[in-house]
């Protein structure tokens, strides 16, 4: 049995073998025809053209009622199909009303199809292991399609979802290309902040979102590099987000934080079509902070010295003591962040195929420079191939997709944003007259030294999947997914000797480089069997399957220094010292059995049962397996007799679900008590260090989800409203419990007997405001009101979390001092002494709760088409609070927000800001420190943003063979916010805000 075990590596060999056997038998089979079933009726050839009134529709499916025959319209909208004169043709096309037209002896039938809101009910929703008609879905699934993705000039898939999905909160963490986004689907479930990532699945293959960067190399970003940047939005057909138990339980242990299903574009039958899209544009920072100018700044500094009773400026106070020119003024934000990023994007697609076999080949290339000074560039390119095949009798189906993406990123090693904010406005010029970096005799750390220190990363990512299915008996389909991913990532961060002050006289012997190599391979096999049967007026369906997944991650972190020349810095062989800081190979294995039983009675009552038994290598012996399951129900009350005759309600569905999911995002091997190499040498030994405090007994985190929703369509679905209420409880919390430093470590992995609740309302409203041949206008609104609450935490008072959480409050709270204003006598900030002990003490007085979760958020999207014009725009809105940007102590040598000019100067002053100090006024220093941790440090960071606006124009051309579209797109064009310290969208402050991007381009199809 051991010899057959998948984990011996041999197992993987079987899959290509099985695959090749499939291939080898397919061609012999494709000769099969229906000849033996020839109709006795005479067949005539019917042809025609399908349009939407103006433009031809390609890929419309034309079938003959009661027969398996299907044809598709080609690129010109033309089709041919053979049918008997009294047959009935059915025309179906996604997003359009299905037409049923009797042949009535004609041989030419031209068709105008109408886009119809009613079709919303017909939209197929991908639920992962199965797909379901929107109207029959029992779960909560949000979807966006390529239509909305293509209007956005962005490179990250999470960016494409921002503001478009109810319940999905996405925050961009930096504007530097290649940086990350934070996503929370229905709030934070796990107390561990890094265990709230959803499961990503691309064409059926899980795609690990575990970071691939290393904190010593990904220094440009607030978080280490994420692999999600590799996914190319241009290749995506649709993104579905599974949110409730009904939809996520089938993903068991990995469904707790929701599931993001990504479906790539597939080939379409019809004429071989070429599509070329080229765009170019610019990006700039959305919003700068308002800072002091030289005059205001120096006034502050001088006053600070006066306040401190210092009459002669110390020798190191270069800004005020005359060392630096006091008439200089540089807007450092403009200087360091005020550049314009150039963005170029090219996409080419070739697609086509026959009724039985279709293909798609696409390729993209994208470059993006930065707003920083210097030549930095982010490049991304890739290719995607898809092939679809069905056998003649439609019993055998085969789908193969593969995508390969390369990213090449070159950025300064450190974000210049903090320097741009704190640097004294009269600090020296960055370059001297000769054009060299100016160190002004070593009196400052020239921030542009970081331009010589670079961060470079290269990511190659392959994701492949194949789905084979065969209809064994009528209604019984055998199916298996095979997937393989291979990611290779190399990241370096250099510190050449030129980044140091020349006063140190450092040579290239002091240059150093950090190198991170991460490789991750995974394979997955998921055999499934699917059965469906009509039972009277009902329909029953069942699905059973298994998952075997293996993921291998290799990481190698190295440090090298001492080079003979700075130009050899990337060559480890030229280094005098090379140290391996970390070298590891981690294996993650995952196994599951899953099933679904669905019963649909008369398309009115639907019951959906899903379940999964999961095992994960991330847990210790006896803790590896767990069961998860859910029940979902729907009642399509609009189909009831008492509502059948009404004219206003076109659709009505009530659905509810309840079930469990789990979370195993805990890292590998955490249950082992081990020593690992520290990579550091002493006395000829490479050291061994204790890896962690170990706990072999931790187990699964359990997440229980409850949801109820009402979906209604009015006036033939021209108004479609969905209101969902959910309540999720996460318990048995798996956390790195913060420990006192006296334990030798700061955390320990353990299950905490605490429960976190996420509840919320999600509303989506789609209205077709206007619909005619020439003018269409639809509006989509989504709104999420979410609340996060710590329900239970036995022993919180005595635990190490006692100053972090409060029962009944959200996880993302801050406990703060209560700021009460400035003492008019001393000019120092005052705080509420809540325990009346005469001093501001910790923790007693630091108990005011501030909730940093968004109170509500959403998006309002409008799509307008008028003849050849199309306009699409999205407003994103978030109601939230966040920290003010804090730049040290006002009066010290760092610039301050302009609001700081209103500082207290003498007794009796009624100022908004406290007394300036250079650091000698103990009371003011302490108060400033308390202030940043007080209610005074928190402010309204709500915003409304014109997230996306896209205008396109179809150029009317004489030829029918070419379609030409002109495109104008913009991201983050306008931002409305009361937040004063730069852009209000951030997780940790001091990083480049999201960019405002404007691009123009052209798309040709022929």
């Amino acid at each position: 049995m051991k010899t057959f075990s998948l984990n011996k590596g041999l197992g993987a060999l079987w899959y290509p073998l099985i695959l090749s056997l499939y291939f080898s038998v397919t061609p012999t089979y494709s000769n099969n025809t229906y000849r033996h079933k020839l109709s006795i009726q005479q067949q005539i050839q019917i042809s025609g053209k399908i349009t939407d009134g103006t433009t031809p529709l390609s890929g419309v499916s034309i079938s003959v009622k009661g027969q398996p025959k299907t044809a598709f319209s080609d690129f010109d909208g033309k089709y041919t199909i053979s049918a008997a004169p009294d047959d009935i043709l059915i025309f179906t096309y996604l997003g359009f009303r299905t037409l049923t037209i009797p042949v009535a002896g004609r041989s030419v039938i031209n068709v105008v199809m109408q886009e119809n809101a009613t079709s919303l009910q017909e939209v197929k929703i991908n639920a992962g292991y199965y797909s379901v008609k929107n109207s029959h879905s029992t779960g909560s699934i949000s979807k966006i399609t390529s239509k909305s993705i293509e209007t956005q000039p962005v490179t990250n898939i999470l960016a494409t979802m921002q503001g478009r999905m109810a319940g999905v909160s996405i925050t961009q963490t930096t504007g530097v290309p290649g940086g990350g986004f934070e996503i929370k689907i229905r709030g934070q479930n796990s107390i561990r902040p890094d265990a709230n990532a959803p499961l990503y699945v691309i064409d059926g293959v899980p795609y690990s979102s575990d970071p691939i960067g290393y904190n010593q190399t990904s220094t440009t970003f607030p978080t280490v590099t994420s692999p999600l940047n590799s996914i190319n939005p241009a290749t995506i057909e649709s993104i579905e987000v599974l949110k409730d138990a009904d939809a996520t339980s089938i993903y068991g242990s990995r469904g707790a934080n929701g599931v993001v299903l990504i479906t790539t574009k597939k080939g379409k039958a019809g004429k071989t079509a070429v599509n070329i899209k080229a765009t170019t544009g610019v990006g700039t920072v959305t919003k700068f902070m308002k800072l002091m100018n030289t005059e205001q700044y120096l006034a502050m500094r001088r006053q600070a010295f006066i306040n401190d009773g210092i009459t002669s400026y110390p020798s190191y106070a270069y800004d005020v003591n005359g060392t630096w020119d006091q008439n200089r003024y540089t807007d450092w934000q403009e200087e360091f962040l005020g550049g314009t990023a150039q963005i170029n994007d090219f996409q080419g697609t070739l697609s086509g195929g026959s009724d039985k076999t279709q293909f798609l080949l696409s390729s993209t290339y994208h470059t993006e420079s930065t707003v920083f000074p210097g030549d930095f560039i982010y490049k991304k390119g890739g290719a995607q191939f898809n092939m679809n095949h069905r056998s003649e009798d439609n019993k055998f189906k085969f789908n193969f997709s593969t995508g390969y993406n390369i990213q090449d990123n070159d950025q300064p090693a450190f974000d210049l944003t903090p320097s741009a904010r704190y640097l004294a406005p009269n600090a020296p010029a960055v370059y001297d007259d000769a054009g060299n970096l100016n160190w002004e005799n070593g009196t400052w750390q020239n921030p542009l030294r970081y331009l010589a220190a670079t961060f470079q990363s290269k990511t190659n990512d392959l994701a492949s999947s194949a789905v084979l299915s065969y209809e064994l008996f009528p209604n019984v389909v055998l199916k298996s997914n095979f997937g393989f991913t291979d990611l290779r990532h190399t990241e370096t961060r250099t510190a050449p000797s030129t980044v140091y002050n020349p006063a140190y006289h450092l040579t290239s012997a002091y240059s150093s480089v950090y190198v991170n190599n991460t490789e991750r391979q995974s394979w997955i096999v998921e055999p499934q069997i699917n059965w469906e049967k009509e039972l009277g007026r009902g329909k029953i369906g069942a699905l059973f399957g298994g998952t075997f997944q293996n993921q291998n991650t290799t990481r190698l972190y190295q440090f090298a220094n001492g080079f003979t020349s700075n130009s050899l810095i990337y060559d480890l062989a030229s280094a005098s010292t090379v140290r391996v800081l970390y070298s590891d190979n981690t294996l993650y294995k995952y196994q599951a059995f899953f099933g679904r039983i669905n019963y649909n009675w008369n398309q009115k009552y639907i019951l959906n049962l899903t379940g999964r038994r999961d095992g994960s290598s991330r847990f210790g012996p006896d803790k590896q397996f767990a069961n998860f399951g859910a029940i979902g129900m729907a009642w399509l009350f609009s189909k009831e007799n008492f509502l059948k005759e009404n004219t206003w309600l076109s659709f009505g569905k009530l659905r509810a679900s309840y079930g469990t999911t789990g979370n195993d995002q805990i890292g590998d091997y955490q249950f082992l008590n081990t020593y690992a190499s520290s990579g550091v040498l002493y006395d000829s030994n490479v050291g061994l260090q204790p890896s962690r405090l170990f706990n072999p007994d931790f187990g699964w985190e359990v997440n229980k989800k409850l949801e109820a929703a009402l979906e209604t369509g009015f006036l033939q679905d021209r108004i479609f409203l969905t209101a969902a209420w959910y309540q999720n409880h996460s318990s048995n919390q798996l956390v790195g419990v913060p420990l006192s430093g006296t334990t030798g470590f700061q955390t320990l992995q353990a299950n905490l007997d605490a429960t976190v609740e996420n509840t919320g309302w999600e509303l989506t409203l789609r209205t077709v405001n206007f619909s005619s041949q020439n003018f269409n206008w639809t509006t989509n609104l989504n709104l999420t009101l979410a609340q996060n609450k710590l329900l239970r935490f036995p022993g919180l008072e005595a635990s190490s979390y006692n100053q972090q959480y409060r029962i009944g409050e959200p996880l993302n709270i801050k406990l703060l001092y209560q700021y009460t204003g400035i003492d008019p006598q001393t000019g120092v900030c005052q705080f509420a002494d809540t325990n009346n002990d005469g001093t501001i003490s910790f923790p007693e007085d630091k108990q005011t709760v501030a909730d940093l979760n968004p109170q509500y958020f959403g998006g309002l999207q409008n799509q307008l088409t008028y003849q050849h014009w199309k306009l699409d725009f999205l407003f994103q809105f978030v109601k939230q609070e966040n920290y003010n940007y804090s730049v040290g102590i006002p009066g010290q040598m760092s610039n301050q927000p302009i609001r700081m000019i209103d500082s207290w100067q003498q007794a009796g002053d009624n100022a908004t800001q406290q007394i300036y100090t250079t650091g000698y006024n103990d009371a003011a220093v302490t108060a400033n420190y308390l202030y940043t941790d007080s209610t005074g440090g928190i402010t309204d960071a709500s915003f409304i943003r014109l997230k996306n606006i896209a205008l396109s124009y179809d150029v009317p051309l004489n030829t029918k063979n070419v379609r030409c579209q002109l495109i104008l797109q913009s991201q983050n064009l306008l931002t409305f916010s009361k937040y004063k310290d730069g852009d209000p969208e951030f997780i940790s402050s001091g990083y480049l805000p999201p960019l405002k991007i404007i691009t123009a381009g052209m798309q040709l199809t022929f």
């Binding site: 998948l6 984990n7 197992g11 000769n31 099969n32 025809t33 401190d308 190191y316 055998f396 704190y422 070593g442 400052w444 750390q445 065969y470 298996s480 006063a503 140190y504 006289h505 040579t507 096999v525 055999p527 298994g546 075997f548 010292t577 070298s583 590891d584 981690t586 294995k589 095992g615 290598s617 590896q624 397996f625 091997y669 082992l672 008590n673 081990t674 020593y675 550091v680 002493y682 030994n685 050291g687 061994l688 260090q689 204790p690 890896s691 405090l693 420990l739 006192s740 430093g741 006296t742 030798g744 470590f745 320990l748 006692n802 910790f842 650091g919 000698y920 220093v925 302490t926 420190y929």
Partner: protein
């Protein structure tokens, strides 16, 4: 017919494949699929102490950590730089955000990252030492000699780190085991209780450690290193006789130690004066201290010696001429510590970071003797140090004068070494008088660091905060 055959054939194949795949998957679908072997880069804690080489690597890693981070590193984050900034030895020229500034400006707060790092890193080093002690005790594969050496060194490390911690933070827990459940709620004990534990650990270490160095480069503690620390511990405790005896034990080991006649030889790797030093990370690398202090043009990028210190040296003092260096830009002159002179890499390393050296033992004994009234003995020891520095014998005669001279001598001899100045001023009761002259807003409570804010939140047993914060 052929098509039907094909269909059957195909179906047959598909079925066969599917059954094959399912059987095969079912065979592997027992629990063993999700069991994984130990990662290649890790050893279980038991395996580490099954063999001397790995057990030794677990111990030497602690020295590497002491060298590279925390209290005793020679990098700018270590005490040598930060306490010199905190007292009257260095002036700080760092840019805003430089971790040295809160020390220099006397604006240390409970959330200061240096304060938190010292604490966490130190207890991590103590944890590693305790893990070695426990691992060695449970091992049945190591020999008695191996066990004694490993345990002796680990006990010494535990004592050393706790000694520095209690001098910086005051009352705190003394951690002697790896059990996190207990350590997480560890209770503070008083400084004098900490000292009792330090002395007990050092006594055990002295019994376990050999007289000779395990490595002739003196990079691993032997019995005398533990004695040298013990001498200092007794001195700080006012146990004058014991301090004097412990220092004598070291000073009398003349086959191992002796003062370097040439002042330029003191900080070299093979100095006879060295009791214990830390080996640099790689061959050819020299000390972090040199990198922290030396600069080549003014104004200084980080720190320079204070005028106060420079002016206190007499012109004849070789330590002024040889252990400091002047840098001028034409109009102004600055001085940097120049005890360690090798800034760059050399073919083989020429300087290691010296943690304990003989000169301090003379000064310990001088002070202990003076305190006991043995003024002649005290002067004798003091003059040894003065003589080597090219100075005449001390003119101090009364006990108080001699004590004053010893404090002054320690300042000249031990400047920018592991915060001696700070501890000396505290011990001599002069810290408020001296530092309130140079530090605006100096408070007597500033003689202790604040306890890290985060620690107070997590472990209520550490409350209250040290007074003044």
């Amino acid at each position: 017919m052929k098509t039907i055959h094909n269909t059957t054939f195909y179906m047959h194949y598909f079925l066969q494949m599917f059954l094959f795949a399912s059987t095969f998957l079912c065979m592997t679908s027992c629990d063993s699929f999700v069991e994984v072997d130990l990662p290649k880069s890790q050893l279980t804690n038991v395996a580490v102490f099954d063999n001397y080489a790995t057990a030794d690597a677990a111990l030497t890693d602690i020295y590497a950590k002491i060298r590279d981070q925390g209290l005793l590193t020679g990098m700018t984050s270590g005490l040598s730089n930060q306490l010199a900034n905190y007292t009257d030895e260095l002036i700080c020229y760092g840019s805003p955000g430089d971790p040295a500034l809160p020390f220099y400006l006397n604006t240390l707060l409970p959330a200061n990252t240096s304060i938190t790092d010292y604490w966490n890193i130190s207890y991590n080093q103590i944890y590693a030492a305790n893990a070695v002690i426990e691992g060695v005790e449970e091992s049945d594969k190591l020999t008695v000699e191996e066990k004694d050496q490993l345990k002796g060194e680990a006990l010494f490390i535990r004592a050393l780190i706790h000694f520095y911690l209690t001098n910086l933070y005051g009352d705190l827990p003394y951690i002697t085991a790896t059990d996190y459940q207990k350590n997480n709620v560890a209770k503070k004990i008083t400084v004098s209780e900490v000292y009792t534990n330090v002395i007990s650990d050092l006594d055990s270490a002295i019994n376990l450690l050999a007289q000779d160095y395990d490595n002739p480069e003196r990079i691993r503690p032997n019995r005398f290193v533990a004695k040298a620390l013990l001498a200092r511990v007794y001195l700080y405790n006012g146990a004058w006789a014991e301090a004097s005896n412990a220092a004598s034990a070291v000073l009398n080991a003349t086959d191992l130690y002796g003062l370097e006649d040439n002042i330029d030889g003191v900080f070299l790797k093979d100095s006879k004066e060295t009791i214990w030093q830390l080996q640099p990370a790689t061959s050819g690398k020299n000390t972090d201290e040199a990198n922290s202090f030396i600069f080549f043009s003014g104004p200084p990028p980080l720190v320079a010696l204070t005028d106060n210190l420079m002016d206190s040296f007499s012109t004849a003092d070789l330590r002024k001429s040889n252990w400091t260096a002047a840098i001028t830009d034409g109009s102004s002159t600055w001085y940097h510590p120049f005890k360690y002179k090798e800034f760059d890499y050399t073919a083989t390393s020429v300087e290691y970071s010296i943690v304990f050296r003989l000169a301090e033992q003379y000064l310990i004994r001088a002070e202990a003797r003076a305190q006991q009234g043995d003024l002649i003995g005290a002067k004798e020891d003091l003059n040894k140090i003065r003589e080597r520095a090219g100075l005449d014998e001390t003119t101090a005669s009364s006990q108080q004068e001699i004590m004053e001279a010893i404090l002054q001598e320690r300042r000249w001899e031990l400047f920018t070494e592991y915060g001696h100045r700070f501890f000396d001023l505290k011990r001599f009761g002069q810290i408020d008088a001296v530092l309130s002259l140079t530090k605006t807003g100096w408070n007597t409570t500033d003689r202790l660091f604040p306890l890290p804010q985060n620690e107070l939140s997590i472990n209520p047993n550490l409350r209250p905060q040290n007074s003044g914060y």
